[in-house]
Symmetry: C2
Subunit: 344 residues, 2 copies
């Protein structure tokens, strides 16, 4: 049942006693075709249930109207939202999306990128995996003349289009907020420092402390507390210090912040009065914990749209001097219960 051969423009041409060229022209918009012929071709195409073979067209045209997207995980809220944003714009423009997951593995990322190059996608959009140790594969993309757009987790040295959050500033504002709420001993749960975003968040933290003349304590900076479990473990350690922190900024994720909150509630430490908490990402659940968690919204869907728009702008401009451009989206601090000690 599966092996019937599909209808082609040759079939239509034969039936109408014209050439495939004419059929092609009749079906596409441009070119000279007699309106009667065009009408006839269209009707016959519909009648025969003709489906244009995009593969053939792609080969001939040298483009695929396809964007390849590589993310660490498609089922991570942030990335799912970005993809949704890209899809929205791409759909309007008649573009398709090929999605790859790196699963945070450099190896898989490299393979995925190569597959996308081979598929001749018009653009590759990527947020690099956590264990990236080099960016040769991205350089390959550029060498092949394929448009490359990085977002969120970007390789900074690479001259490509980028869409990023201003992590440094967001982080700075979060810490400033905590300080203004009267917290003085603020700990940082930081992510893998090979990723720029986490370095930036750390920098924002440091800048805020400096600005407010607070000391930086090494013991208050915990590496790689990414998950709820790691966040919880880090919190236990931090709170057992003789001079324990009075606030924790989980710069890695809201999950980590949740771990902090759970440990606090286990230890009967009151949030926000005894301990302030701030997460990162504005996951849905941050709104419904008790207390609700202060966090930072990254406008993920908008980021996706920005990525897509960036691509289409470039594509439509045909600009020869395509200056590597960076679009920065300003995240927003969402103040909630977990850090609100002072009445407003």
């Amino acid at each position: 049942m599966n092996r019937k051969k599909r209808v082609t423009i040759y079939d239509i041409a034969q039936k109408l006693n014209v050439t495939p060229s004419t059929v092609s022209r009749a079906l596409s918009s441009g070119g000279y075709v007699n309106s009667t012929t065009r009408q006839l071709v269209r009707e016959t195409a519909a009648e025969l249930n003709y489906k244009p073979n995009t593969v053939a067209s792609n080969l001939r045209m040298g483009k695929t109207k396809t964007i390849g997207v590589v993310v660490p995980r498609v089922n991570q809220n942030f990335f799912a939202n970005v993809i949704a944003g890209i899809e929205n714009i791409a759909y309007e423009k008649g573009y398709s999306l090929i999605i790859c997951q790196s699963d945070e593995q450099h190896q898989k990322e490299v393979k995925s990128v190569n597959t996308l190059i081979n598929q001749r996608v018009d653009c590759i959009v990527i947020s690099v995996s956590a264990d990236s140790y080099n960016y040769d594969h991205l350089q390959h993309v550029l060498d092949q003349g394929v448009q490359l757009i990085q977002f969120d987790r970007v390789a900074e040295d690479l001259d490509t289009l980028k869409v990023i959050n201003d992590n440094e500033q967001a982080s700075f504002e979060a810490i400033s907020h905590l300080i203004e709420q009267g917290y003085k001993k603020i700990a940082l749960l930081e992510g893998p420092q090979n990723l720029a975003i986490f370095r930036q968040r750390k920098n924002g933290y440091l800048r805020a402390l400096k600005q407010y003349n607070l000391p930086v304590k090494d013991a208050f900076i915990v590496e790689n507390a990414w998950t709820k479990e790691l966040g919880a473990a880090a919190t236990k350690k931090l709170l057992s210090l003789k001079n324990a922190p009075d606030a924790i900024f989980a710069s890695t994720s809201d999950f980590s912040a949740l771990g902090v909150l759970e440990v606090a509630s286990q230890l009967k430490i009151k949030v926000p009065s005894q301990l302030g908490i701030c997460g990162y990402s504005n996951e849905a659940f941050t709104e419904i914990t008790s207390p609700s968690i202060t966090t930072i919204d990254q406008f993920s869907v908008e980021m996706g749209k920005a990525v897509a728009n960036l691509f289409f702008d470039q594509a439509e401009k045909h600009s020869i001097t395509t200056a590597p451009k960076t679009v920065s989206i300003k995240p927003e601090l969402i103040v909630r219960g977990s850090s609100s000690r002072k009445k407003t």
Copy 2:
């Protein structure tokens, strides 16, 4: 900078003074090629940075090693998980994924499906949108001889491969659980009845009531309470009845259940003692509300894997009599605080 032409097997052939045929055979695994030649070709390919043009290959081979996926929303947890599951298996098999969103719009779904057909994907995986009013577009897929697999939200009448949850049974077990916890007046928040999954969930509800000899009250069945807001509104109405329910099964989603919980806490109605609540989907947040919400896990990632495996099984079998097969995954009731009145 963008317009350099890519390296082809002709370039390699020319450089080595052989024909493209030989190059092709050297690069692919099968066929007779002198091992020295093969070696030479491979080296030259690497040296020239040759990237095989999948588009050309696809055209020639009549297949694309691509699976098209259409879901209502990619950034909805359940669907994101299913996609992640599909991707895992597909990646291992060397297949790519084209992802489309219907945004719950029939029109967009139809267009997406057609695009996928035109792209000549080897298989289309779909979970239909909420406002689907006919399935002609899916029939088209079958007519074109493209493998079609439906999951979760399926058009039952269509003879295709399907991967579904046993919604009826899950729903039945949820209600049975509530009854066993001593709840006697159980309300149902139901989803759009044009989708089979919601009809099944309702059926499970009805069967359980019948089995336990409880009356079915029309006033206890609320249509289309899908979101948190709608769930909250429905709850207000239900709880204001003179003979109000003592439990609410939000068969639509955990978000709806969350709405129920919030209204209950506003009205100072104690959960679970005065009101039992059960949601659907096992969203991450259900674990961290207080009380935590009893819900039903759908094993979404596994569903995705099941979908992919189903496809590859069929593809590898080359079976002529491909009997339409349905894989049913048994969801699991996760009992939590919101419905636990009795000590265990």
